[in-house]
């Protein structure tokens, strides 16, 4: 059964005009796509491809030149749709004179959340994004990463069904970036729908179920990530460590079946994993240590 569409975009076009109404740029051209309930959807594209414009059209911050946008079954211009939406902007445009608690209290009030619920939810979210130690500091004193975290917390204050994330990992260190991706996974597990735009392809690949690639306002690709990235012409085997003679035997077998062994090596971990592992170990065992020639020394 086809699952319910949370976002329906039909022939969406956006042309930016100057003060005199003259056409400046066509930011989006006849975009049509659906986002289904419970999926993590990625909007990809280089700078100026129309990702952020699409998000802003979804949020009613911009008005379409042509076409139609429905979000949670309502037109994008209806304010009532915002009850079930969480939005993390590209830069975290929060009020920098507020502290974390005041920020979440303010946004909680905008959702008409009762005082006690607001307080509990703010406390929970501040802990979740790891800002408990800085909850009373004004946001102007926050680093970029901390600002992104509190921005994420404000996007989740209403426990939304649909979360729109504009460049969610930008400005975050690898650990923060991993936390963000873990959080997106958790949101998905809870049945939430997430739409994110990013040009950090690895992040998108890690978390998204489906993606759309935009280029100069046109939709170029729209499909599931696993389907798009799979190379049907190649088969990959992973085994435990094999001695040289066994490898040669495997090669022989493959030759007999008309195939060739394209590559044999030991898989490497990625730098992100190494970084996260080092930081987590350092948190568990504080003290100076360094890695030399691939052999870590004991903590001093």
């Amino acid at each position: 059964m086809e699952s319910e569409s949370v976002i329906e975009i039909r022939n969406l076009t956006k042309i930016y005009r100057d003060f005199w109404g003259r056409k400046k740029v066509r930011a989006l051209n006849q975009l049509t796509l659906d986002v289904k309930k419970g999926e993590v959807f990625g909007l990809l594209g280089p700078n100026g491809s129309g990702k952020t414009t699409t998000l802003k059209l979804l949020l009613g911050l911009l008005f379409p030149t042509e076409g139609e946008v429905k979000i949670l079954g309502e037109p994008a211009t209806n304010v009532s749709k915002n009850e079930r939406i969480g939005y993390l902007p590209e830069e975290t445009y929060l009020y920098r004179f507020l502290n974390a608690e005041e920020t979440l209290d303010f946004y909680g009030r905008l959702f008409n959340i009762p005082a006690q619920v607001r307080k509990d939810r703010a406390k929970e979210l501040i802990e979740m994004v790891g800002l408990k130690h800085a909850r009373r500091r004004q946001l102007r004193e926050y680093s970029k990463g901390m600002t992104r975290r509190i921005g994420l917390a404000q996007a989740l204050i209403n426990d939304p069904d649909l979360i729109l994330l504009d460049e969610p990992t930008s400005g975050l260190d690898p650990l923060g970036s991993r936390d963000m991706k873990d959080l997106i996974d958790k949101l998905k597990e809870k049945g939430k729908t997430v739409v994110m735009c990013s040009h950090l392809l690895a992040d998108v690949q890690d978390v998204c179920d489906r993606i759309a690639i935009l280029f100069e306002g046109d939709l170029k690709v729209l499909d599931r990530v696993d389907k798009l990235l799979v190379d049907e012409g190649v088969t990959q085997l992973k085994t435990s460590q094999l001695p040289e003679n066994v490898i040669r035997e495997v090669e022989e077998v493959l030759k007999r079946h008309g195939a060739s062994l394209m590559n044999v090596d030991h898989p490497t971990s990625n730098l992100e994993d190494l970084f996260i592992k080092t930081v987590r170990e350092s948190k568990e065992r504080p003290g100076q240590r360094h890695v030399a020639d691939g052999k870590p020394t004991a903590a001093s």
Binding site: L62, N82, Y87, F97, Y107, N112
Partner: protein
């Protein structure tokens, strides 16, 4: 005396202006959208109106309070309250320049009270003007508004919250400065000065004149001053100034042994005479229905128990200061009958008082407000608080205009726009009314230019040829434009209540004195009348624009 604010007329004008504006806006929108989008255009307009109704029905006090609180915190944390420090510094040193311990206590009160109230107004008004004009544009510029409008926050809640927040900041400063200013006034004044801190409650009458032949006149004699605010009567003739008081039955005067009055007459001497003595005058009380009249005896001394000891049938006018007059209740007429001032002369709350100048070839002059019944004084703090309320209402008006302007233009333009509206509303509204109501002689802009270059005076008739008709038509269009926009400018003259407080009067609710000056109820009504249309305008401006900083 004092012209009643015409509430019913104001309400009719208000409804007709708002109705015409709404009709014009909807007609233009529907027609324009039909031209641009065909049949779907008017449907889009209807859809916008439907959304607007939905938005307004969903207004939430909690969200409004959130924005209000945010605005207050923003102003405090951005050090807007530093203006209070400027206020404190001004007051630390103001005493050096204003203190006049040896001068008249009345003058001291006027100077100190006016200084305090004007300083408060001149510090708060620019501050709230700047705050209100920059709040929303700054939110749009740094895009923090994106995190607000993507919540279920309606645009009118943003506008109302901002208005309330800035007004609260202005109100907080006003309260602090008001208290500090009050204490400062008390400390600056000596004991005599403090005694002068009162709020007199006057009941004014309508003035008329009789000339030397006893014939009714609207005005008295002009003794040479071109500006005829006060006109004069000649002494030793039938000439007199007549005040008709009304509504005296509304005041509980029945238990009093006198009718308290206060006079502030001017004297014109045609010969020097005895300069140590004032010009002698007499007061007659007249029943307006029966025309019964008698000389009013004025209380000159009382015994220790406060009972009337002596009265006099005349009094000397003390120039440039108040003349407190107690018209004794017991009146004796020409035939020696003992009469009661309140029972025999006050009829249905009305009383006529006639003032005669006794010395021949000397003159006394007055305008309507120069003689009034002085009801029991109110504490000074009452009129002071009302005066501050006037500043508060002005602050609210400026905030509303500023916030509304800032919803469709950037901060600097919004500031200029608001400043212009305030300037015209405070100084040019009467002039605008004169032009629009065709009371201005010499024609419109083009006609005036022509007259200047052609050396024609304003009364000279112009030839009725085509070029002149076209010129007058263009001028007429200009006046039509001014007519359509004049109500955009609130009439701020009603908000200036400082003179009442400084001159020791209670601030009136309805009857401004002189006419067309400040009064509390008109300023409240004007504020209420402008508040909603400006907020609605701000709502549509935010609702119909893309909130993307450009």
């Amino acid at each position: 005396m004092g012209s009643e604010f015409d509430f019913s007329g104001a309400l009719i004008t208000y409804i007709s202006v708002i109705g015409s504006l709404l009709f014009a806006i909807i007609t233009v929108s529907v027609a324009g959208s039909f031209v641009v989008g065909g049949k779907t255009g008017p449907l889009a307009v209807l859809s916008i109106l439907r959304l607007a109704v939905e938005d307004w029905l969903s207004t939430s006090p909690r969200r409004i309070w959130a924005i209000t609180k945010l605005t207050i915190l923003e102003a405090i944390r951005r050090k807007a309250l530093l203006v209070g420090v400027v206020f404190a510094v001004l007051f630390l040193f103001a005493g050096w320049f204003l203190a006049q311990p040896a001068s008249d206590p009345e003058q001291q009160v006027k100077v100190y009270v006016a200084f305090v109230m004007r300083t408060i107004a001149f510090l708060i008004i620019p501050m709230v003007l700047l705050l209100s004009c920059w709040g929303i544009p700054e939110d749009i510029r740094v895009r923090s508004i994106h995190t607000v409008v993507t919540k279920p926050c309606r645009r009118q809640e943003i506008v109302i919250g901002r208005v309330l927040g800035f007004t609260a900041i202005g109100g907080l400063l006003l309260a602090i400065m008001g208290v500090v200013g009050y204490v400062w006034i008390l400390r600056q004044l000596d004991a005599k000065g403090r005694e002068r801190l009162v709020a007199r409650v006057p009941v004014y009458g309508k003035i008329a004149f009789k000339d030397r032949e006893g014939v009714d006149q609207k005005q008295g004699i002009n003794t040479g001053d071109e500006w005829m605010f006060r006109s004069f009567i000649e002494g030793g003739t039938k000439s007199r100034m007549i005040w008709n008081f009304e509504g005296l039955d509304a005041f509980n005067l029945e238990t009093a042994d006198h009718l308290p009055m206060e006079a502030g007459f001017q004297v014109f001497r045609s010969y020097k005479g005895n300069m140590d003595r004032g010009i002698t005058c007499q007061i007659l009380v007249v029943n307006p229905d029966t025309e019964k009249r008698a000389v009013a005896p004025l209380v000159t001394s009382r015994d220790q128990a406060g009972k009337i000891e002596q009265t006099d049938n005349a009094f000397e006018v003390k120039e440039f200061r108040e003349n407190l007059l107690q018209l004794a209740r017991r009146v004796v007429d020409d035939e020696g009958n003992e009469l009661d001032l309140f029972k025999d002369f006050v009829s249905k709350g009305r009383l006529r008082v006639e003032v005669l100048c006794l010395p021949t070839q000397q003159y006394i002059g007055a305008a309507g407000p120069d003689l009034f019944v002085r009801l029991p004084d109110k504490p000074f703090v009452v009129s002071y608080a009302k005066g501050l309320l006037g500043i508060g209402l002005l602050t609210l008006m400026i905030v509303v205009i500023g916030v509304c302007a800032s919803t469709f233009v950037k901060g600097p333009v919004a500031t200029m726009t608001t400043f212009f509206i305030v300037l015209v509303g405070a100084t040019g509204r009467a002039f605008l009314d004169t032009i629009v109501d065709a009371k201005w002689v010499g024609g419109g802009a083009f006609e005036s230019i022509y007259r200047i270059f052609a050396h024609l005076n304003p009364q000279t008739e112009l030839p009725s040829t085509l070029p002149f008709k076209v010129m007058q038509l263009v001028d007429g269009a200009g006046v039509g434009f001014l007519r359509s926009v004049r109500y955009l400018f609130p009439d701020f003259k009603f908000f200036d209540l400082t003179p009442y407080v400084a001159y020791g009067f209670d601030v009136p609710w309805t009857n401004p004195v002189p006419p067309n000056s400040g009064a509390l109820l008109p300023s409240l009504i004007i504020t209420a009348g402008y508040l909603l249309p400006w907020i609605v305008l701000g709502y549509f401006s935010l609702r119909l624009r893309e909130l993307e900083a450009k």
